[in-house]
Symmetry: C2
Subunit: 242 residues, 2 copies
DNA sequence: TTTGCGCAAATTGCATGCAACATGCAGAAA
DNA sequence: TTTCTGCATGTTGCATGCAATTTGCGCAAA
């Protein structure tokens, strides 16, 4: 295939380094990733109808990989796909968002429970660092950085749970949750509470207390979902209200 | 589009009944369903490489919908898909099966916890019927009917949890779990135990005891996974051993 | 014998063309 | 006016063709 040593036999004279796993992804995956990003960030607004031809020229690919990408996103629930109809960006109701966070809370409870006993020292250290940084973000009131780091911590815990199928089940929910979070960037009061929950969760993990960590994670995510759903509900009845 | 009255306006003289929602699914979905079935049932054995051209003639569709179907199955983890390589049916190790059931146990715990307080009377009745039938299957030692009904009960509980995202997260795991179950049709001793767990779970649900129902479901699925993984492990070290 | 190289066959990735289906509108019938 | 019908247009579903990539095999060199 190319000059780099590949495969399992020990490379005896590797003149070139194994060239750090460039993903080498196909067009349909790139298209899917870009679409996902556009939907989550709201570039493609809820309710938008996605015409294949238009989208394909917009993304610079032909319809075939685009259609494959749409199928992938449909599997994640990020687009609605009906036979012989244009794909649409779903517009989730606050009730659906609540359902979503209920499920997410349950799954993150599991990840926390699993992570508590089996998280590696290395990941625990990483988590410690992130937690400290999160506290700084909170103290300095840097909302969007806090937001991003928050997500990262949750992902780290999922990783630490060391259960691939669970992570795979988590990912699609997480994508939709981020959609909701981004358009309900939470209120200051909840921020305070959220920061404390994060500290508590970290403590529980550090103490390897599975039940406690799970319970905290569950409450944390569920509470987040309630606040977000309420925000969206309020904005729906009064669209002008920031 | 055709003779049946459709749409929202009251049909004043509907000469034909609305023709009970035939799914009208596309070729790629049919192909995906058939492939899924073939993989779960073992018609396509673990490790098999799936050549698009061959499969497409076998299923009687062209490569385009077949490729879309493969992408769908890949999203469910039922095939491995790498760029520029033929798709393969994964051959899950007993360790991976154990991970899978660990995740599944967690999710079914959630479904049981959610279902306990909110299951409708109608579904509860249906469950009662299925449970009674399950007991008969157990008494009469009809293994495969027991097996099928077992699956159905689990699905019913997922439905009763009334949380769409959670059900969507559950489905792909369930597909792989069935793959494992089908090739490790459990031992008689476990059967006894499993039947009792099912009765206990039903009781807990009937009593609307969320924590108890969740705990039972968790143990039940996890234990099933352990037995299945052990069976697969044993068969792997001694392939001849039934 | 073993290792490396290069070509040929097989296979996937993608683009494009055509048929089927849906939707909206104009015009006819009631 | 209101409702139904048929057509025109836009869009999706699928098949097929071609280029790019992988893979297996033969053959020569060490």
């Amino acid at each position: 295939m190319d000059v780099v040593a590949r495969g399992r036999g020990r490379p005896r004279k590797a003149l070139v380094v194994p060239a750090a796993q460039v993903p080498r992804t196909g067009l349909h995956e790139q298209a899917a990733a870009r679409l996902k990003d556009m939907i989550v960030r709201g570039v493609l607004p809820a309710g938008a109808t996605l015409v294949e031809t238009d989208l394909s020229v917009a993304l610079g690919v032909s319809r075939t990989p685009l259609r494959e990408a749409l199928k992938l996103l449909a599997a994640e629930g990020l687009v609605d796909l009906h036979p012989n109809r244009s794909a649409r960006v779903p517009d989730w109701t606050p009730e659906e968002i609540l359902e979503l966070f209920e499920a997410l809370a349950g799954i993150e409870r599991l990840t926390a429970e699993l992570a508590a006993p089996r998280i590696s020292e290395a990941l625990m250290d990483a988590l410690r660092g992130k937690q400290a940084q999160l506290d700084r973000m909170h103290r300095d009131q840097v909302l969007d950085a806090y937001f991003a780091l928050n997500q990262e911590i949750h992902r780290t815990i999922v990783t630490a749970a060391h259960n691939r199928p669970l992570a795979e089940a988590h990912a699609p929910l997480q994508a939709r949750a981020q959609w909701a979070r981004l358009r309900a960037l939470s209120s200051g009061s909840r921020w305070e509470e959220s920061a404390r929950e994060h500290r508590d969760l970290f403590e529980a993990l550090a103490a390897r207390n599975a039940a406690e960590a799970g319970a905290i994670a569950h409450r944390h995510v569920l509470r987040t979902g309630v606040v977000i759903a309420e925000t969206l509900q309020a904005r729906r009845t009064d669209p002008a209200g920031r």
